[in-house]
Symmetry: C2
Subunit: 204 residues, 2 copies
């Protein structure tokens, strides 16, 4: 999915400046979506304007001078055609999960627990936000926007539950069994010790 369509989507809500588009994602993406940098936004706005999807309303009157962008007829059509295209499966880059699934038995579990606690806090902050935002009295949340936020809410609650379960399992040495028919856990530790050499092998 392209930044271009994401920009059109934001502009469909209301005319915005480049600065505005960035801040829209800063707090409201709510773990549903990713932000973009000015280095992406401004060149894309320029490009979209040149191609006739959006136009600028230069406002030098009300205090600051800024460029508000609004969709053209062509922009609306492009946006709506994009909406109708079946969305591709989400791309997720979750470093915590990558780290946890490759964590090995010569590593200190306390460090992993601290990673989980950090994540729990971040997730809780976002959860708090998505629970308050649709009820704050001034933000615009459409009916379908509300449904999307409901997804974020359910997902974040599930995540917190999983983190709590995982910390509990790590602390009480109550981990699931796994599946290791070929003794891979042992092989891994041996490969590592052989590579590192001697008994300098314990990383705690």
């Amino acid at each position: 999915m392209s930044i271009e369509h994401t920009i059109l989507a934001v502009l469909s809500f209301w005319p915005s400046t480049g600065y505005n588009i960035k801040s829209e994602f800063e707090h409201k993406a709510a773990g549903l979506y990713w932000g973009m940098s000015y280095g992406s936004i401004y060149p894309k706005l320029k490009k979209l304007e040149e191609e006739g999807f959006i136009y600028a309303i230069e406002q030098e009157d009300e205090g600051r001078k800024k460029k508000m962008y609004e969709l053209t007829a062509k922009g609306w059509k492009e946006f709506e055609n994009w909406l109708k295209i079946p969305p591709s499966f989400p791309i997720i880059k979750d470093e915590l999960l990558m780290k946890m699934s490759t964590w090995h038995e010569d590593m200190d579990n306390e460090v992993l627990i601290s990673h989980l606690l950090k994540r729990k806090e971040e997730t809780s902050d976002i959860l708090k936000f998505v629970q308050e935002w649709p009820r704050n009295g001034y933000s615009y949340v459409s009916k379908l926007g509300c449904l999307s936020i409901r997804y974020a809410e359910m997902k974040l609650e599930t995540e917190i539950k999983w983190i709590e379960e995982s910390i509990e399992a790590l602390q009480n040495n109550n981990l699931p069994d796994g599946q290791d028919p070929h003794g891979n856990t042992e092989k891994l530790l041996n490969r590592r010790r052989r590579a590192i050499g001697g008994d300098k092998g314990n990383c705690q």
Copy 2:
């Protein structure tokens, strides 16, 4: 998070070829992580070898000629140092959510439902996989790998539940109320109709 560290992480499990690393992500990423292309993998393997993090075991004997890569002592250390760094918050690009939250009232809800149904199928396939994989009798799943898979399972189940609730709400016109203190829904539709012109405005 870098492709380099992800490659080191995969190699920590067992020595692998470039081809192998890609297939590792093809099926096992399980919605937890993203795949990478050969155009990323092979140059990175070369670079990691040059920098002394991995070394190649060229195997021309057993049938096919291939380059198995294994971690060096330096590679193990780099991998483990990376494991200890607090992971950054996941990056998610969920096109379905972006589309749903910017869907507007002149769009056909049936199309949105078809998007949801497609996602439900994709999610169900992955869920089935993560439920069977740790019990298939031959794959290696470490204890912490099992915990990671448990996360995927919970997350995917939650997602399916949300999809079902959402489809139900869309079909029975039972959507949540949203929050629109400034009449933005109306404003949006007016801006759109003005831009598109006349009453060609209905996109169904």
